[in-house]
């Protein structure tokens, strides 16, 4: 398939070794599959981002602006579903993870390359199926598909839910692939405790993907059965229990929150050591706190349901266990902070994103504690406080890390450098815009403004207006990033093998790497962060 050609410089790499579209769509190379995921995720991010801008524009003033309430609810559902299922969940693992996991552990590929390509096709099939509902009867349930609303509404719930099921399958296959890769394909000398922390984070994520996603799968299938066969499990009229859906749904979706954030934490660990030129502080603690968070996350789902009518005892137990998730998270934050101590810190754009992550994640974290405390959660539950909190964690956390990781690994992925000052500018726009958009939402939530509101009382106007202006800044930042990407690809200078002075394995091979990653199979003799 494809012919082997050399470039002007005579170097052969994974991009130019095979030519033509077909060589991409049938590629088993984890790096190429990672790039294919990248393009798909970017496309859906653009779609979800547009939906977000529409929502914010509608909320600029009280009363209807240009959307009807039904249209608003649909845009809101697409924003949530696209961002969760098609952007943030696959974002770091399927793009950066796919590309760098094998390079990180000195492997030539993931354990099952064919399965890896299949996951991409499955993902695309699910994502396009989900997007297709935009052209049919649309969907207005919110991304959580709560019953009995999702049973009663006349929109395309079945198609959307099946699409989510299919994307879940893709997520399971990726996770499974990563677990086996980590277990079986480490280079000689690459012990578990010599793996980069990004790999540890992906490994913990993969475990969550494999253990939690099947439960989402069966929940979604039951919802489909409910709508098509009228089974009655979630329908009170037939003796069922609508709240059971919430239990099942959050049993997956809370661990899913960590599927979204753990890889981001892994990226940040890499960025902070590299740009401080210093070994990570508390390697073991960070590695095992990832596993710890993954483990505890299976027992906290009930904190989404403090006011759903579950018993007081259940509320207390879930609140208590939720507090325990705070500890490993705090450990990570302090370890990153300690890594900076006596380092040699450079403010390249990836590091700016990593520091932006720490800033926003700190705020997301402490507000998470406020939501885990029973009495305050009763007030904040389903208000804009929650919206602000999870955007601080998911966007401020995951997306910041994704951008940081992207700028960090860009030279390795494409063999070119991007425009550094423009890249810093994107950070400023996104970081400032983010805070302007979401900080007012904490206050709105404390004032009592419920989420998923098409209209609001006049008292909430000024803060909503500020929030809308912020969304334009974020939009500008991401458009600028797209420009940086394109410009870097077209006109960027050639990247050296190791532009940042990193110590992990991927930087020992040329940029971009060759098809089989390593000319000579590496033999690992030390840990990943030996800045002595």
């Amino acid at each position: 398939m494809g012919t082997t050609t050399a470039t002007h410089s005579g170097e052969i790499n994974y991009i130019n070794e095979f030519k033509g579209l077909k060589s991409w769509f049938t590629s088993l190379d984890h790096k190429r599959i990672g790039l294919m995921y990248m393009i798909s995720v970017m496309f859906f991010f653009l779609l979800g981002g547009l939906a977000a801008l529409l929502l914010r524009l509608e909320l600029l003033k009280p009363g209807g602006q240009f959307l009807t309430p039904d249209q608003y609810n649909q845009v809101l559902t697409y924003h949530g579903a696209i961002m969760v299922f098609m952007v943030i969940i696959p974002g770091i693992p399927a793009v950066l993870g796919n590309f760098f996991l094998p390079l990180h552990i000195g492997a030539k590929d993931v354990a099952f390359p064919r399965l890896n390509l299949a996951s991409w096709y499955v993902f695309m099939f699910g994502a396009l199926l989900a997007a297709s509902t935009m052209f049919t009867s649309k969907i207005d349930t919110g991304w959580t598909f709560y019953t009995p609303y999702s049973i009663k509404t006349g929109t395309a719930v079945v198609t959307m839910v099946l699409a989510a099921f299919i994307m879940g399958m893709s997520s399971i296959l990726t996770g499974l692939n990563f677990i086996v890769t980590v277990h079986k394909l480490r280079a000689p000398g690459m012990t578990m405790h010599r793996m980069p922390l990004f790999v540890w984070a992906l490994y913990s994520t993969a475990i969550l993907q494999v253990l939690a996603t099947p439960v989402l799968g069966i929940t979604l299938l039951l919802l489909v059965a409910e709508r098509t066969l009228g089974v009655g499990i979630f329908d009170p009229a037939l003796g069922g229990d609508p709240v059971l859906f919430q239990h099942f749904f959050w049993f997956y979706s809370h661990p899913a929150v960590y599927i979204m954030i753990l890889p981001a934490m892994g990226v940040v660990s890499e960025l902070i050591t590299t740009f401080s030129k210093k070994t990570i502080f508390g390697y073991t603690a960070i590695a095992y706190s990832s596993l710890g968070i993954a483990g505890v996350s299976f027992f906290v789902w009930g904190h989404h349901m403090f006011v759903s009518g579950q018993s007081e005892i259940a509320g207390i137990v879930f609140s208590f266990i939720t507090m325990l998730v705070g500890v490993p998270t705090a450990i990570k934050m302090f370890n990153w902070l300690a890594t900076l101590y006596k380092g040699s810190i450079s403010f390249q754009s990836p590091m700016l994103y990593a520091m932006g992550f720490m800033f926003l994640f700190a705020i997301g974290g402490v507000t998470g504690i406020m939501l885990a405390v029973l009495a305050t959660d009763v007030h904040f539950h389903d208000t804009y406080f929650v919206v602000a909190h999870f955007h601080y964690v998911m966007v401020g956390g995951t997306l910041m890390a994704l951008m940081g990781g992207f700028y960090y690994w860009f030279p390795k992925m494409f063999g070119k450098m991007y425009n550094e000052s423009l890249a810093r500018l994107t950070f400023i726009f996104i970081f400032v815009g983010f805070n302007v958009t979401f900080f007012p939402q904490f206050i709105l939530g404390a004032m009592g403004m419920p989420r998923r509101y098409f209209d609001y009382i006049p008292a909430y106007q000024s803060l909503n207006a500020i929030s809308t202006v912020g969304s334009w800044l974020i939009g500008t930042g991401f458009l600028l990033s797209l420009y940086v990407l394109v410009q870097g690809l077209r006109k960027g200078e050639k990247a050296p093998a190791n532009p940042w002075g990193s110590k992990t394995l991927e930087w020992t091979v040329p940029s971009p790497p060759i098809h089989t990653n390593f000319e000579v199979d590496p033999i690992v003799k030390a840990g990943p962060y030996e800045y002595k």
Partner: protein, 220 residues
Amino acid sequence: MSTNNHASTSGHHFAHHFRDANHEFESAKQGIWLFMVTEILMFGGLFVAYTIFHNIYPEMFAEGAKQLDWRMGFFNTLVLIMSSLTMALGIYYLQVGQSKKAVRSLAITLVCGAIFMVVKYFEYTAKIHHGFLPGRFLDVHHVNPEHANLGLYFGFYFCMTGLHGIHVLLGMGLITWVMIRAMKGEFGPDYYTPVEGVGIFWHIVDLIWIFLFPLLYLVG
């Protein structure tokens, strides 16, 4: 795209990123077991829902179970246990290099799967004919149930056995695939990974049935 296959001494090619054929076999097996974990967790969700509602409406479940013929369920259980045995035999014959016998064992497994599905088909048509349909489709006038929400039981019955049935069909498809490859002589003592994988899948599908049978047919 080529994956620069290496040739092992026995003639089987293993992918370039593995050290040797055994490394590949072990990795594949681990992957298959992980996949089985997800299968079990998925059915686990159904079992949890079943347990919750069985606790709330034990008598209704007993009424529903009375409508099922335990003899058909029992027969199907025997058929599946038999098929598990022949599946295991098939792998054994491949390991010792008796390809013909292996193909025969796989064929018997396939036939067992088909018998299971035929029995299931008769059970389903009888239930549908008598109006024992899930949830709101339960033919209340015809069935005249003691418990108004009997439809919930049949909701579980059709969801659980339906999802299991889909797995049996998938398994039969996979067995056909490995059988054809075995007939072509692609497997031998040093390469039978796909058959091993399909076998594990088939055993898990059987195992799930062994849980479904008492829960649905013998409860109450």
